[in-house]
Structures are given as structure tokens and as C-alpha cells.
């Protein structure tokens, strides 16, 4: 079996505002922020709510499920990769990649589930893969 070139994920910038997000990714969960003052969930996570500027924002764990809002396969890259916006069931849309599937099978509206890829420096980066495939793999895993 020949080894395929892997997409290299640049290391994300980690600072005092973003560290809990990336630590949660290392632990295998996706954390979002909600504002206690106005109740709105926002993305990307900030210390200050972008809807009301309250500093009373708290982390919570997202379901990790959503739908493809838009995507594009970068054909000029080696290897090509599928950048996307995914709208989470919590209502916010985030930039990500769609992985573990044939590019030609990706569709807007498709259900996807959280997965992770390692960045160049070992940080877990949240990506998404088709939800049905995840279930199939889980099934195979349970049988073996």
C-alpha cells in the first residue's frame, strides 16, 4: 500500500482567550461559548459576548453534530482538501474541513459529525466527517 501525502494542519494560535477551546479539543470535545447576560451562543469563542459585550460568557460542550453549509475542494493543493462551513445543531456555523470521504460525495445540507486531526505540532483540530459513515465505522468496530 502506497502512503498518500497527508494534509498538514498549521498549528492554531493559542492565547488566554482560546486556550480552553484547544485544551478541550485535546480531550476530544468541542466547546462553544454562551453569554449568561443575553443567552446567545457565539462562534468563534470570545471573552466578551459579540451580541451584548458582556464579559459573562461561559463554555459548554457542543453536540458535535451539524450540517454542511458550504464547502470547496481545493484542487490546486497537494493533496487536495475540502474546506467547509458547518452549521452545528447549536445554531452557530464554523469553518472546518470535511474528511474521511470521497470529495465528490460532499453535499450542502449533509449531516456531519465531529472528528479531529493533529496539527503539525500535535494540537487536535476539529474537523467533520459524514455522520452516516461514522455510524458504519462504529458498527464495524462493535462487530470486530
Amino acid at each position: 500500500m502506497t502512503s498518500q501525502p497527508q494534509h498538514i494542519y498549521p498549528d492554531p494560535l493559542v492565547n488566554s482567550e482560546t486556550a480552553p477551546y484547544w485544551q478541550a479539543c485535546q480531550a476530544g470535545t468541542l466547546q462553544l461559548k454562551r453569554c449568561n447576560a443575553c443567552g446567545q451562543t457565539h462562534f468563534y469563542p470570545r471573552a466578551v459576548c459579540p451580541f451584548c459585550l458582556s464579559g459573562d460568557t461561559v463554555w459548554f460542550t457542543a453536540s458535535g453534530l451539524g450540517r454542511v453549509y458550504a464547502f470547496s475542494v481545493m484542487r490546486r493543493a497537494e493533496p487536495p482538501y475540502a474546506i467547509a462551513y458547518v452549521t452545528l445543531d447549536e445554531g452557530v456555523t464554523l469553518m472546518t474541513h470535511i474528511v474521511d470521504c470521497a470529495f465528490d460525495g460532499i453535499a450542502i445540507g449533509q449531516r456531519v459529525a465531529l472528528a479531529f486531526r493533529q496539527s503539525a505540532g500535535g494540537q487536535a483540530v476539529p474537523v467533520f466527517r459524514p455522520q452516516a459513515r461514522l455510524s458504519a465505522e462504529a458498527l464495524v468496530g462493535s462487530l470486530s
Binding site: 494542519y9 498549521p10 451562543t41 468563534y44 470570545r46 470547496s72 474546506i83 456555523t93 450542502i108
Partner: protein
């Protein structure tokens, strides 16, 4: 009929270079400044207001004012990417109307081509930007961000690659007459859709060129415009806006033109049907299509039909656009196309466009700029211009 106007464009100049190997960026700024001032019959000592954006090196306006020896009483370094220079036109009008300056100079220059910048490479906006951590790990490029907007527009409105291609076809029909255009070959819809996919669904020919060069504008008060003469062009209306990812409420099928356009039309007391010629920012074909919809030249979702069948070709269609070939074929200096959009609109209103693309009796024109990316955060700026006797 003489429409009221608070300031005029008296000088406009596009740098002839497309690859500036042996020139510095400050030098290019100074060369376009000189060109626009000569076009207006003015000298650098007449300039008392200066406008520039993120392409100006060093401390921007401070560095460039010193380099060019300008003595100023007004400066504005508003940075909204490639839309900056159209925003500057509006700001210059306001500054002149408020008496803060009487001769306003706007400059743009860049040399990404000589510096070897890839048309598909990532832009570095600095690691301090708060969005970087949540986007940069996914390698967002200018191309795949605009491509996602195109994909979503196709999904919501049924827009096709062939319809997007019609925009490039129109630009190429104009560029064949521009001896300085980088791409002068007339292309067909088939040529565009058969060119290699860069980022689905955008093909190579859906993308603008990368070029060096720049441009400059000189705006003056109505009093000075009367002295300078009838080549002065009226600024009748202006509007600016920004649009971003709205904390995760992402909408990729609208641009900031939905705000800047109506502001400019209200300011000018005009409607889209009044406009004879448009210069529309054309980083990609999808940029043009969405902008035309958002400015009100057609209903949302009808852009694909609107641009088809040569409707953007001068002398053929109902709304001639980018008669210099635009960013898709002519040039896109410094990866910032706002300046050249205004310059071609000025040529049209002066009757100085190439005879083969000159719009007959061109009286009212619109120029629109998009800065940043319609796939993330963008600046939008619209100006409506009128012939001297408009």
C-alpha cells in the same frame, strides 16, 4: 439638468506597469500621484488632503506623505482591503465639503507579481487577528473562500458555472481592446468551464489576474473644479458598509453591497435603472454576480440570468461593465481592485474609454469595491459618479 455635488474627481491615473521588477512600492505611489495630479493640471504642492490604505508601507499615510513631500491638513488611512479607495472617494467628498481640504489625493500601489505572490496562496493578516486561530488551521485561501460563496449561491439559487463564465467572457471582450491588459484573448463560456478547477466550483478563468502597479485619484472642491474644466467628474453619491461572519450566523450569499448600494443610491437620489455604466469589483466572477444582485440591478438569485447572453458587454448588453477588462483580464494592482474601478468609470464619463467599448452618451456611472473576502469578512464601498453636465 445639473445635479448637486459636493466634490469632483479632477484627476485619475492608472500605472501602465503590470510587473514592477525594478520599482519600489513608495516609488509606484509617487508615480501614480504625479500622473493623477498632471491629469488634473495640479502639482503636489496643491495637495492638502491625502488618503491611502494598507498597501502604503511603513506608517502608511505618515510614511508616504514624507516620501512624496506632501504638506497636509487632512489625512485618512481607512483600511477596508480592496474597497478602501472607493471608500476614500466618499471620505474625500466629506472632507472637502467640511472644508478640511480642497485638493484630496488618493493613492494605491503594489507589486505582488514581482514579489512572487501566488494567486492561490494564503494571505497573512497577522497573528494578532482574533479570527486567525479558528480559520488558519484550515488553510483558507482567497480562492476557496470565494468558492464556498459560489457553491452556496449555486445551492440556493441554481446559479451555474456557465452563468459565472459569462462574466469572464464579457470582460475578455472588453480586454481585447486594451493594449495593457494582461489577458487580451477573447474567451468563450466553454473556455472558462473547461479551464482547470482551482477550488470547486471556481475555475482558473473565474479568477482575476495578479498584477503590479497602482492608481491615483485627485478630488477637488466645486470651486476648483470650475477652474479645472469639464473633464472633472461629479461624485453624486456614496455608501460604505462592512459585513462579517456575525458571530457564527454565517451568510455567504450576500455582500456588503446590500447596505452600501442603497446608501449610495439614496445619497445620489438615483436608482439602478438610471445607471449607464458600472465598474464592479471582480476578484472572481462570483464577486460580480452577487454584487450586481445586491446593488439592485436584478433580483436576488437572478444574477446568473442577468449576466448571461452578453448582457455585460458594451454595445451588446443592457449593463456594460468593466470596459477596461477589469481585474479578470486587465489588472488587479496590489490585489486591490477598487482604485482601477473608479478610474475606468471616470474614463467612461469623460468619453475617454477605448472607442470600441465607450458607452454612448455615458452620463451616470457606478463603481463598487469589495475588500477582504465575501467568504469571511469584507468591506463594501459604492460611489455613483456623473458626467460634468449630469
Amino acid at each position: 439638468m445639473s445635479r448637486p455635488c459636493k466634490a469632483y474627481i479632477a484627476g485619475a491615473f492608472e500605472h501602465p506597469t503590470r510587473k514592477a521588477v525594478d520599482k519600489t512600492v513608495p516609488q509606484l505611489h509617487a508615480e501614480v500621484a504625479l500622473g493623477a495630479l498632471r491629469d488634473a493640471g495640479l502639482e503636489s504642492c496643491d495637495v492638502d488632503g491625502y488618503f491611502c490604505a494598507g498597501d502604503a508601507p511603513g506608517l502608511g499615510g505618515l510614511s508616504m506623505a514624507e516620501y512624496m513631500g506632501l504638506n497636509l491638513r487632512h489625512i485618512d488611512t481607512t483600511e477596508t482591503g480592496g474597497s478602501s479607495y472607493i471608500a476614500h472617494v466618499g471620505h474625500a467628498v466629506d472632507a472637502i465639503a467640511a472644508g478640511r481640504c480642497s485638493v484630496a489625493l488618493i493613492t494605491l500601489a503594489g507589486r505582488p507579481r514581482a514579489e512572487g505572490m501566488s494567486s492561490v496562496g494564503a494571505r497573512d493578516y497577522g497573528r494578532g487577528a482574533p479570527d486567525v486561530a479558528f480559520e488558519q488551521p484550515y488553510s483558507p485561501l482567497i480562492t476557496n473562500l470565494y468558492a464556498m460563496a459560489a457553491q452556496r449561491h449555486m445551492h440556493e439559487h441554481g446559479t451555474t458555472s456557465e452563468q459565472l463564465a459569462a462574466i469572464k467572457v464579457a470582460a475578455s471582450h472588453h480586454a481585447q481592446h486594451n493594449e495593457r491588459a494582461m489577458l487580451r484573448e477573447v474567451v468563450t463560456v466553454e473556455d472558462v468551464v473547461n479551464s482547470p478547477l482551482v477550488a470547486d466550483p471556481l475555475h482558473r478563468l473565474d479568477c482575476c489576474v495578479v498584477s503590479d502597479g497602482g492608481g491615483a485619484l485627485v478630488l477637488v472642491s466645486p470651486e476648483k473644479a470650475r477652474e479645472i474644466g469639464p473633464r472633472c467628474v461629479k461624485v453624486l453619491g456614496q455608501g460604505t458598509a462592512i459585513k462579517h461572519l456575525s458571530a457564527g450566523r454565517v451568510d455567504l450569499t450576500h455582500t456588503g453591497a446590500v447596505t452600501s448600494g442603497p446608501l449610495a443610491f439614496a445619497d445620489a437620489r438615483l436608482i439602478p435603472a438610471d445607471i449607464d455604466y458600472v465598474s464592479i469589483y471582480d476578484s472572481f466572477t462570483i464577486t460580480v454576480l452577487m454584487t450586481l444582485e445586491d446593488l439592485g440591478f436584478c433580483a436576488k438569485g437572478q444574477g446568473g440570468r442577468f449576466v448571461s447572453d452578453g448582457n455585460l458587454i458594451s454595445g451588446v448588453g443592457r449593463l456594460p461593465f468593466n470596459t477596461d477588462g477589469g481585474g479578470l483580464c486587465n489588472n488587479h494592482p496590489g490585489n486591490r481592485g477598487g482604485m482601477t474601478k473608479v478610474i475606468e468609470a471616470v474614463r467612461q464619463l469623460r468619453g475617454e474609454a477605448h472607442p470600441r467599448v465607450q458607452v454612448r452618451d455615458c452620463t451616470l456611472a457606478l463603481a463598487h469595491g469589495t475588500g477582504g473576502s465575501i467568504g469571511t469578512r469584507m468591506g463594501s464601498a459604492t460611489v455613483i459618479l456623473g458626467r460634468n453636465d449630469a
